[in-house]
């Protein structure tokens, strides 16, 4: 077994990096994104305009911020369906603080804190009490938004200070928005966290085999709790951006956004059952969804038809590799 004469040499890698990249989901998705871009630019003369494209990014930047954290959570085998309700509660808290005369720094801190607390609340039930996250977060989805409704009823908070509006309406340079900058920064942070750190490795290990990860000395509960915190925090960031962009808070803010976030994550190649997926995939998926909604918007397609289109796109892109494989085996047989 040890030091035998014919000690086998096991190579590090079987396929080159380029070969793996070419065959990856991200490559397929990128091709789809480019195709949609080209189709859009032919379909509407208004598409290829820097300012229009800049406006289009608002379709996905806020969702994508949450999607990055959600991707890690889904890879670990959990899910958080309460993110849109966290936005509502966080936004309501910001609005409430405004009524008591809080300035922009306080508003930001309150928005982030409420997000973190909501994440901690979800994380507690999942990791300490061991309840399934899908049930817990369906519960908190109603709970968080319900609190918003109690506070606001039919009212809305308005009158946010101009310095607060900077987050959702400001520009860094030319057509590049503050939200775009945040999107890039957050994408890089999560990309590094998932792909380049011990923490990210633990996320993959847990998603593939939570028992095995525990038996390998990984603090599974702690990692999952942190992931819920991060998802809550990102919902807080999204709440600040969205509130700032809309300039008002209603309890119905961001309704249904959780499904769009999950769609973006799954479209990005994250396995809904956990264990695999990448941040670059989610970045491309964000662009795909943004381009589709924007392109259809330019063609005056109503919102409900857009959601049909997004649904078809999701199922189509996911079914494509499977159909491909089935066709290949049939040809062989």
């Amino acid at each position: 077994m040890i030091n035998t004469a014919q000690t086998r040499h096991v190579p590090d890698r079987l396929n080159s990096r380029a070969a793996r990249l070419f065959k990856s989901w991200e490559a397929l998705l990128l091709a789809v994104a480019i195709a949609i871009f080209v189709i859009n630019s032919f379909a509407s003369p208004y598409f290829l305009s820097a300012w229009n494209l800049s406006d289009a990014t608002f379709n996905f930047t806020e969702k994508a911020m949450i999607a990055f954290a959600m991707a890690l959570l889904i890879i670990s085998g959990e899910i958080d369906l309460s993110v849109a309700s966290i936005i509502a509660l966080s936004s309501t808290a910001i609005g409430l603080a405004l009524q008591f005369g809080a300035g922009t720094p306080e508003l930001v801190i309150i928005g982030l804190t409420v997000g973190l607390l909501c994440g901690a609340f979800n994380g507690f039930f999942v990791t300490v009490l061991g309840l399934p996250s899908i049930v817990v977060t369906i519960g908190t989805m109603s709970l968080f938004r319900g609190i918003s409704f109690i506070i606001l009823g039919d009212d809305a908070f308005r009158g946010y200070p101009p310095s607060f509006s900077w987050f959702g309406q400001g520009y860094i340079y030319w057509v590049f928005t503050v939200e775009m900058l945040l999107f890039v920064i957050i994408a890089v942070i999560y990309g590094v966290l998932l792909h380049k750190t011990n923490f990210g490795r633990a996320v993959y290990a847990i998603g593939n085999n939570p028992t095995g990860a525990l038996f390998s000395g990984i603090r599974v509960a702690r990692v999952k709790f942190v992931l819920f915190l991060l998802t809550g925090l990102m919902s807080g960031v999204a709440a600040i951006c969205l509130t700032s962009r809309l300039g008002s808070t209603r309890p119905s803010i961001a309704t249904g956004m959780e499904l769009e976030v999950v769609t973006m994550v799954v479209l990005g190649g994250v396995n809904i059952l956990g264990g695999s997926g990448t941040i670059p995939g989610v970045v491309i998926a964000a662009f795909v969804m943004g381009l589709v909604t924007f392109g259809l918007g330019l063609l005056n397609v109503p919102g409900i038809v857009m959601s049909i289109f997004i649904g078809l796109l999701l199922i189509g892109v996911i079914a494509l590799p499977r159909l491909w494989a089935m066709a290949a085996t049939r040809r062989k047989a």
């Binding site: 086998r8 593939n208 038996f215 390998s216 000395g217």
Partner: protein, 515 residues
Amino acid sequence: MTTRTLPHVSPDVTPVVSMDMITKTFPVVKALDEVRLDLYPGQVTALVGENGAGKSTTVKILTGIYIPDGGTIRIDGDPISFNRPNDAANAGITAIHQETVLFDELSVAENIYIGHAPRTRFGLIDKAEMHRAAVKLLGEIGAPFSSHTQLRDLGIANKHLVAIARALSVDARVVIMDEPTAALSHKEIEELYELVEALKSQGKAILFISHKFDEIFRIADRYTVFRDGAFVGDGKIADISEAELVTMMVGRSVDQIYPERAHDIGEEVLKVVGYDHPTEFADISFDLKRGEILGFYGLVGAGRSEFMQALFGITKPSKGVCRVNGDIKVIRSPADAVGNGIVYVPEDRGKQGAIIGLPIFQNITLPSLGKTSRKGFLKLAEEFKLAREYSQRLDLRAAALDQDVGNLSGGNQQKVVIAKWLATQPQVIILDEPTKGIDIGSKAAVHEFMAELAAQGLSVIMVSSEIPEVIGMSDRVIVMRDGRIAAELVGHDLTPETLVRHAAGITKSTKGAAA
């Protein structure tokens, strides 16, 4: 159809099933290369081979799960092809798998007849008829429970009986038993042998897959040997010796003697005092010295694994103190245990050991990431270095280190798990049934390796249910019974008889008192 002459085989009976020139290739490996296998009515054929010899693939082909790339399967001499698992079932071939899939929430009768339950005129399940038939089947195999029992309420041995009843319910002519005794206690194994005899007398052909040679020589009539996916030979068990069979299997003669150990046992490393658990174990105290191999023997359910998992921080003992090198250590999680140099190689490799879906090198470095990384950031080059070192040390057989650990055979997955822990440079390694379900060649290698680890100063706790292994490897043995330490045996007291007596709770050395 009887005109076909079969070399090596005396054609006293026509085989029910005959596999000829069967080949199956997977993307990375050729699992089977023109193998043959004949099964005869009323006879038990043992399929013998090391891990990765192609036994499981053969079973999957016979049961229609895999479609072979080449070769012929004949039933009663007629060529047949299985395209779906149902085809094999219709041909009268049924398998009792290593881990049979049963349904906890259903009754025994429903488990037996799921998929082919008797129907009423209206197409609904005829419950009365189903239970009547189930009772008859359960009676035939001597099952001591009702057909209405919920499966969840049965123990592992009785669940096995349900699996057997289910296999028989399809009116099988060929029964495949894939390591049927792996999870059974001594008494239950005896009962299984009786059942096999009963099936034989009903004229069924039985394919028996086992790593235990005493078992093979006890109940098999014929043998077929595969090695590395190729056919090596077959014949009657009566015509071959154990040593010859081992040589055929591994292609070399294996020294079945346990490794000589130079006993350089050092000072105390681990001391456990008064570990209690509300239900699983009580009052466990012992110590472990540097370079020592401490065996834990006991019947299935004696609480050995449960205690080990408490020591490793998976479950929480209600009280008890653990000292490492004299200092009291609080171990609340596996991470704490690993931090204190205690590691655990679990029995359930698939679920608790390897992380399927992650590449081999990531499995190996998972608990050592603190060492291979800088400030929490991964260093892939360092990881590959560590993985390379330990995969070489364990003679891992794999296509590449970035391959999914799920592509490896069971024995190689076990090597990855052991490599993972050795890479953390532990003080105490707990091996829970380290050679269960692995072939005799790999077994000897594991034993040798264990002895070498002890010689290097590692303290080993070995949980084992195999008496020769316990006696051959251990410096000292603790016998557990009903969650308590029944005896600590060393030197001349360490005999098969004393082990069994203490494990079963027989105070006097009376024979055959197992009840």
